[in-house]
């Protein structure tokens, strides 16, 4: 058999198996009506009720408002605390610098006056 004929035969065989797959697949839902009896339905509804229960627990007190309010309050408080801390640190360091300058100036004037007195 020539190479081309062999290839053609092979393609025909593959196509036949593919056709068989398609036929098999299209008949595979025959049992759909028989599946999922009352026990299965009750299992679905039990899961649905659990979902609803979980949703209600989350939404007690007006949906997601409580967690949001808490987070917003915490963020605002933290920001305010940081600003106050920055202000205090800056104020403190400025005050220290000013005090040091004043002391130095005072010390300088004392030294100067003492020096003048010596002269």
């Amino acid at each position: 058999m020539r190479k081309g004929d062999m290839r053609k035969k092979r393609d025909t065989q593959i196509r036949k198996i593919e056709e068989a797959f398609i036929e098999s697949h299209r008949h595979s839902d025959g049992k759909a009506e028989e599946l999922g009896g009352p026990v299965w339905t009750q299992r679905v509804m039990a899961r649905v009720r659990r979902e609803e229960g979980a949703r209600e627990r989350v939404s007690i007190g007006g949906g997601f408002e409580i967690p949001k309010v808490v987070w917003r309050f915490a963020a605002a408080t933290s920001l305010a605390a940081m600003l106050m801390a920055a202000y205090v640190i800056r104020f403190d360091s400025t005050t220290r610098t000013e005090m040091a300058e004043l002391s130095f100036m005072d010390a300088g004037s004392d030294v100067g006056s003492n020096f003048l007195e010596i002269l």
């Binding site: 068989a20 797959f21 697949h25 599946l35 299965w40």
Partner: protein
């Protein structure tokens, strides 16, 4: 309450009741669309995982019920969820195939021989209804990635148009089109290898 011609409450009314807090009303939807969801899931996941995956689909539908806009019928919206649950099933098992990838079983090899030698339509169809047909198909699909598997199943095996498959999967049409072409070629290569394994 609006009723359909058959005296059954409409899907939209039931959804309204569920969203209003009557969770038990969801059972009506479960009963109404149970067969639809099973018919989808049966075609995509192994038999032993069908019930759990169908359950996942309904629970996911319940979770997402607020996003249902009634622009499309509920059954279509639910079908999309069921298809995505099947995709999630395979994505979660990526690289962990339950069916051995290589080596056709003796029964699988025999089934292939029978299919290839079937000389009438009746004989061919008889073969396609055998358990081995589903087994060899699952073996071939198990080699594909979850994405390829879903696309080849929807477009090639079920024969859905690319646009519809894309909508069911929630992917772009072009992505599904490219993947459909590639995954079909891969499936043919796998079939060829399985034929050599006989």
């Amino acid at each position: 309450m609006d009723l359909t011609g058959s005296g059954m409450p409409r899907d939209e009314d039931i959804i309204g009741r569920v969203l209003g807090g009557d969770v038990d009303a969801f059972e009506v939807l479960v009963e109404r669309y149970r067969a639809l969801v099973f018919s989808i899931v049966l075609k995509h996941v192994p038999a032993e995982h069908v019930e759990d995956t169908a359950q996942d689909a309904f629970v996911e539908a319940f979770r997402s019920l607020r996003t249902f806009s009634a622009r499309a019928p509920f059954r279509y919206w639910l079908s999309r969820i069921a298809v995505r649950c099947c995709y999630n099933f395979w994505r979660d098992r990526r690289g962990n195939p339950e069916i051995p990838v290589s080596g056709l079983t003796e029964d699988g090899g025999k089934w292939m021989d029978e299919v290839l030698s079937a000389d009438s339509r009746e004989a061919f169809e008889r073969e396609t209804r055998k358990r081995e047909a589903a087994e060899v198909l699952q073996q071939a699909l198990s080699v594909l990635s979850p994405e390829d598997r879903m696309v080849v199943t929807l477009t090639h095996l079920e024969g859905l148009p690319v646009k519809e498959a894309a909508e069911l999967l929630g992917w772009s049409t072009i992505s599904v089109k490219v993947r459909a072409h590639r995954s079909r070629r891969k499936l043919r290569e796998i079939v060829s290898r399985l034929m050599d394994d006989r």
